[in-house]
Amino acid sequence: MIYELFLILPMMLIVLGALMLMLLSHREAPLNRNMLSVLILALAFGLTLSRLGEAHSVFVFEAIFGRSFIVDSFSTLFDLMILGGAMLTLLINHDYFKSRHYFDGDFFALVLFAVFGMMALSHAHELISAFISLEIASLSIYALVGYNSDNPKSREAMMKYVVLGSLAGALFMLGLALIYGATGSTELGAIAAHIAAHPQDAHTMLIIGGFFVMVTLFFKIGAVPFHAWVVDVYHGAPLPVTMLMASTFKIALFAVILRIYLGDFAALGDFWSLPLQILCVLTLIGGSFLALSQSNIKRMLAGSSVVHAGYMLIALNAITLGNFNASESILFYLMSYFISSVGAFGILSFLAAHEHKQLTFEDFKGFGYSHPYLAAMMSIFMLSLAGFPSTIGFLGKFYIFTGAIEAGQIALAALGIFVAFVSIFYYFRLIATMYFYDTPKTEQHFGFDTTTVLILLMAILSIWGGIGTALLPYLPTPDALIELSRHAITSLD
């Protein structure tokens, strides 16, 4: 009992912190709410960290909740990624929060509620609890997207996201009803047991149900036939929210997707493979077109996040074909994408905080001369996102493509490599704009504060992830991350 309480303590901390911030929000207290929420997240992070590497798999309070919530090594690793992601997102936007008047107490309470929903998502061992967690996270994010209600773009993005998101939620429920009808349960273990007990059946209804559930999850990660909202919502949302959605929320979604695919639908791999391949091809190509046609950096990053989701779908497809090692490459890719994209968005937020720009390609003309250090770091992030060798992004793509080739998906891997070459065009366009234009502006002083130090840290991490293995033998390497992911995945069986 006490042990189980200890296991869910991080989640309880987040909820209590959110409630506290909510009740404090009307008060004009002289307290830094950003730092308060970072403190709460850090406490939860520390508590979770103490369990890392310990092999466990416990259904928390099984007598009360049934088997709907699980704490295992897999969820521990994802909790760490989510908490760390949210913490970095809040810290890196420190300047941005100070430069805008509309970030009051409610904003941070909503962020904490969203983080709670994401953590619960990685713990969900039943489709209904997965849906409730997904809704907790989504509802908070709807409100966060439209938080700056003075900005018509923010309002419009919010409305689009709410309408399409609630439709996706209804589809999830429909799929859930079909799965319940087919198997008599929505608990992941029971569904797997049902499939194992009836190997001869076609499982038509189960597959249709699973299809609807997957449509919702792919909608939320922005895979291509369901991507209509991505660019507008990422553009309209305030920058910290865009960061949260692009990195942390995606991590949580892949937690539940991996749990479903590895534990549950593994037996139906033959069926999933074809739709996933089509989805991969569409996402990679459609995302590239989206990213190529944008003139605003935020929109370009939004388009490219669709492409990155496509790379992870390649690995997911390898999983359905039986190559379970590919799941580690998804975890590693999520981390590498997180590091590079948070860095890139961090620079945008730094600029938006200090110079109130629209952040189009035009604004970056001569950036290499006016902000030499930031421009260098931006180049590192762009190289890492493009998958240039000696950055962490390269290793991430490398693991994904080798996983796909091992599973016999040579054509998909080739398409992925081709799309990576295309992506060089739009990432290098920014680098070229920064360095190849002269500017009358003088060099700006590079000051150290929370935001810039964190951006620097992200840049160092991107490089360390790519080449650090050989240079610093005593520090943990990307291999350690892979080892950690492998350990986490084994707890799923």
């Binding site: 409630l19 909510m22 009740l23 929000s25 009307h26 009808g181 087919a182 009836h198 001869q200 059946d201 038509t204 209804m205 249709i208």
Partner: protein
């Protein structure tokens, strides 16, 4: 096999499911195409205006204030939670103290939300214009 007995009626449902979807989409598409094809295409500018003569269209003076929506919304939120209390009330004796504490925690969470709404001034009458 007993499972097939369960699965068979469902397959019929699935077919119906596909058919109804098909029928609905077909109806909407056909209705749209038909109306487009059969509509009188007289595009004289005056005919397309709302009134060919008479006063300009004005907004209704007796519009309902959006404030009512806000109250309705709060009512909806706190009202719906009753669905969790009915099952608890029916099995109150069986659930005993454990159920009681659990429900009190739930109500406490609702109360926090209520206090928040109160402090934010959502219960006061604002004239939204």
């Amino acid at each position: 096999m007993d499972h097939m007995n369960v699965a068979n009626p469902y397959f019929g449902v699935f077919v119906l499911f596909v058919l109804t979807f098909g029928a609905f989409f077909a109806t909407t598409v056909i209705a749209r195409l038909a109306s487009r094809a059969m509509a009188a295409k007289d595009t004289e500018k005056l005919k397309l205006t709302v009134y060919e003569c008479g006063p300009e269209v004005t907004k209704q003076p007796n519009r309902i204030s959006p404030q009512f929506y806000l109250f309705a919304l709060l009512f909806l939120l706190f009202d719906v939670e009753i669905v969790f209390m009915f099952p608890w009330a029916i099995d109150f004796k069986l659930l005993g103290w454990f159920g009681f504490v659990e429900m009190m925690l739930f109500i406490l969470l609702l109360a926090v939300g209520f206090i928040y709404a109160w402090k934010k001034g959502a219960l006061e009458w604002h004239n939204i214009k």
